[in-house]
Symmetry: C2
């Protein structure tokens, strides 16, 4: 069966199944001019959106539909996580070229629905249209947050401790495998591949940090540690010192870098797409938050450095020599 045979409205009906997993508060879903939702009292509405374009963000021949659908939603859930929010609804716009098989699209929606169900997020609508050449996916996610708990990029203070909820650089290593068509011939390489294609949005971790009462600023690591930390520093009007010896590098990234001749600290600093949460915590609350986090998630928080008043990012090397590191990361226009 092809998209032409079932048509736009047949396709919409097909992808609508399994999209409403939390009906409470949903007044109209797919099938009217707009979705209508009950607002939650005393909570802020959060809205985030990400556009993914074939040949810029993904290669259709190098991804499964499932992984593409999963990741398209994951990167938006990650933005809600970085605000300390609860994700509620997703709206998917898709531009489909003629040569895109229906089976790929079914698989793509399965990937989205799988992740949506895991975090109790409804997929409530969107737009379905054609595209001349590239597959296009725009995802919008709404969420809610207690206004007293919301985590912003601004708010970091001199002396705060900088943490990441996970290791950094794995995703970039996974991308290297994909772009260079290197087979994931070991569990370690497979873990790096998975880190890139199936990143876990840290929604529960974000909620924990928001409620912890000691986190001053947060962001998710999408562009890379130095670039995303740069956003916090600019928004907060502060600087930071990172410690090379404290960069959270997974054993699989260590093995990858040893095998292919890369510097793991480089990967951690400029990797991107890790979707861990990067945050600045009050130094008097940091130990408590770290202990409670470990108790809640069975994982440590990774301490990377601290907030300074320099306005720059310094990297302290193993010999404690300071090096100024300019934020590097992905700029969609400059890096072309």
């Amino acid at each position: 069966m092809s998209l032409k045979e079932i048509g736009e409205f047949g396709f919409i009906e097909r992808i609508s199944r399994g999209c409403l997993i939390r009906p409470d508060g949903v007044v109209t879903a797919i099938g009217d001019d707009a979705a209508a939702l009950q607002a939650e009292a005393n909570r802020l509405l959060l809205v985030t959106t990400d556009l993914l374009v074939e040949r810029v963000h993904f290669l259709r021949e190098a991804t499964s539909g499932f992984n593409l659908g999963y990741k398209s939603l994951a990167v938006n859930l990650s933005d809600i996580a970085a605000m300390g929010g609860t994700a509620r609804e997703a709206f998917i716009s898709i531009g489909i070229p003629d040569d895109c098989p229906l089976a790929f699209l079914d698989d793509l929606y399965r990937g989205m629905q799988h992740l949506a169900a895991a975090f109790r997020v409804n997929i409530l609508g969107g737009d379905t249209t054609g595209s001349k050449q590239d597959l296009i996916i725009n995802v919008v996610v709404t969420g809610t947050v207690d206004p007293q708990e919301m985590l912003l990029r601004s708010g970091a203070r001199v002396g705060d401790i900088i943490y990441s909820t996970g290791t950094l650089g794995d995703s970039r290593a996974g991308l290297h495998l994909i772009l260079n068509k290197i087979r994931a011939d070991s569990p370690q390489l497979q873990a790096l591949f998975d880190a890139h294609v199936l990143p876990k949005p840290c929604l529960r971790e974000g909620r924990f940090l928001a409620a912890s009462g000691g986190v001053h600023a947060a962001i998710d690591v999408s562009d890379g540690l130095s670039s995303d930390l740069g956003h916090i520093l600019r928004a907060s009007g502060v600087g930071a010192r990172l410690f090379a010896l404290q960069m959270p590098v997974s054993s699989q990234l260590q093995a990858f870098c040893a095998r292919f001749g890369f510097d793991p600290v480089d990967y951690a600093l400029a990797g991107g797409e890790d979707y861990t949460l990067l945050f600045a915590a009050d130094r008097n609350e940091a130990a408590r938050i770290g202990e409670q986090y470990r108790a809640a998630f069975g994982q440590p928080l990774y301490r990377l450095g601290e907030i300074t008043d320099t306005g720059r990012i310094e990297l302290a090397g193993p010999d404690n020599q300071l090096q100024d590191i300019t934020p590097t990361g992905w700029d969609h226009f400059k890096t072309k």
Copy 2:
């Protein structure tokens, strides 16, 4: 100056200016991981989204940036209008190919901001990225509506009178001019061109109808009268009879059809992109609503026909002979 010179973040800063025109209730706008908004008590949240792709929805060489920006937002505001809602915030995702000049993009945002300001809609964020070939614009608009007043596609009842808030077919005639490179050499042709490129979202009209207490179902005319009426009929489980002699055809469409040899009733029935509101009103309230509408807007409502129990759309010709008309309209996949 080019996009490469100012970079992604320079571009975001550039387009952010003039986007926040109604700061009340906006906690964070452009520049964090998500926008954060105060929810309005006792009102439903509306969300709608539309994806516009170059070579499918527009030809870059045939449109100004201003008109493209205006229309991208207008079609979404129209969806909020069709729910009887008040539009509140817009979120713009844009995928920009290398060869798209910064001046075109500045013009595009001017078009959006012009319309946003006219309806007091904030542009609060979105996503800015590259595209290999086609310019891509995804617009999300949120709105609010009193739950007692919301207009759905469902709810039309047998005996209801069917109305349009404006004439139909002008936009398709304007598209014909553009596609056939016919110069708008008269005020009449210019009016048809404008109807296609600068459609007016009927937000005030939608609010009026929602508050009128006699409108049972509504939709905006995007795909074409027969197609959009079909959506109301399917959602409401009813049929309709339209009267060919009552099709609201503007004098400029009459002149256009006479000059180029088209049937104005065809244009009215299957035109599309008129963005008038099409609605079913209680037959006992219809006269009152029509009078109040004329008093409020200085324009008549156009009576097209009535809701029946047939499940089909019949067109009554000048001789009152009935003809079954299958909804025709734009299906993005079937019509390729």
